[in-house]
């Protein structure tokens, strides 16, 4: 199973849920991602729980406003997290609805897909081995020994490939 096919299936599922108006299942799917991203961005501060709640509320309100997107829903989720955390650090109210043009701020959502969100974009510059190992570890959740067996390489090579992959991912971090 390849990473990119799985991500496309995930995106297709999200679109299906959105079109069928099952926002509850969508929010349930992304709840842990929202919570942990807020905790990471706020470095564990207690306010992260409130910020995550504000994100959920905003996503719900966007849905109720009939907003439609031409990008994967995970991109929308991340942008709302980014916007809400930014508002928190700028001492703005984060329990207000998003402005109508929030998704146009700082560039189109479509650009986010190309430059930051597709897994291929995140790891595209890696040699094939790092990409393979990262997929097997972080998407298929294989143990390092299992990865070594599957790829026919030494365990130490798996660890080194993951280390190189993570270094590449660090370069993708943005504030």
């Amino acid at each position: 199973m390849a990473t990119f096919e799985q991500m496309s299936d995930e995106d297709a599922l999200d679109r299906q849920l959105y079109e069928s108006r099952d926002i509850a299942q969508l929010l349930a799917r992304y709840d842990r991602m929202i919570h942990n991203t807020c905790v990471a961005k706020l470095r564990g501060h207690a306010d992260a729980d409130d910020v995550a709640q504000a994100v959920r509320m905003r996503l719900l309100k966007e849905f109720e406003r009939g907003k439609r997107y031409d990008v994967p829903y995970r991109v929308v989720v991340w942008k709302v997290v980014h916007w809400t955390v930014g508002g928190y650090f700028n001492a703005q109210r984060i329990d207000d609805p998003l402005p109508d043009d929030w998704d146009a701020e700082g560039g189109r959502l479509e650009d986010e897909v190309v430059t930051r969100f597709h897994l291929g974009g995140l790891l595209a510059d890696l040699p094939g081995r790092e990409r393979e190992v990262a997929e097997l570890r972080y998407v298929r959740m294989l143990e390092p020994d299992q990865i070594a067996d599957e790829l026919g390489i030494a365990r130490n090579n798996v660890d080194q490939a993951l280390w190189r992959a993570n270094n590449k991912l660090r370069e993708q971090w943005d504030d």
Partner: protein, 186 residues
């Protein structure tokens, strides 16, 4: 040093993907001075990997939450312009609890606020202290803090960790303490 951050990030993301609901705050604590680096790496990994599938219980809670817009106690607190820490501090003073109880009080209040506790089991003194802080009637608060769909473990939107309830920010105690008793958990 960097290798240590990689180990923590790896452990967290794999547990996250498996639906074990790891507590990122504990990982950040374990990273010590490298918590910033860990937070950044985890942030990118969260963006890179698919989210874990929600449990049926988490999905049921989400459906209830959507129908109710948001936990009523949270809505009231926000309308009063109060942060959760401020309410926790006020409760601690009103209930005569020492500073050592603050962390547990924060956890239990969060659980009450998000509908994870049975309002009828919470000590009347808590409701009175909360009513004073939120400028509401205690009876109204008890009505608002109705629990969401009952679930086996006291969590909201979280997957059940294998073998038991997910870890808390706070160290769990085998015997209920005064805060636990005040919130009806003895």
């Amino acid at each position: 040093m960097t290798e240590r951050v990689d180990e923590l990030a790896d452990a967290f993301i794999v547990a996250y993907r498996r639906g074990e609901d790891p507590d990122l705050r504990t990982y950040l604590e374990r990273a010590g001075e490298q918590r910033d680096e860990l937070a950044r790496l985890v942030e990118v990994l969260l963006r890179a990997v698919p989210p874990p599938e929600p449990t049926p219980e988490a999905l049921a809670l989400a459906r209830t939450w959507v129908a109710e817009q948001e936990p009523p106690l949270v809505a009231l607190r926000v309308r009063r312009g109060l942060k959760r820490d401020e309410v926790v501090d006020a409760l601690r003073r009103s209930l005569g609890l020492g500073e050592a109880a603050r962390e547990k009080l924060q956890l239990r209040y969060h659980e009450l606020e998000t509908g994870q506790l049975q309002p009828s089991r919470v000590d009347r003194r808590v409701w009175q202290a909360l009513a004073e802080t939120l400028r509401a009637r205690a009876e109204e608060l008890i009505s608002w803090a109705r629990p969401l769909t009952p679930v086996p473990a006291p969590v909201m939107f979280r997957a059940d960790a294998p073998g038991g309830a997910p870890p808390s920010v706070l160290e769990s105690r085998e015997e209920p303490d005064e805060v636990d008793r005040l919130f009806g958990l003895s």
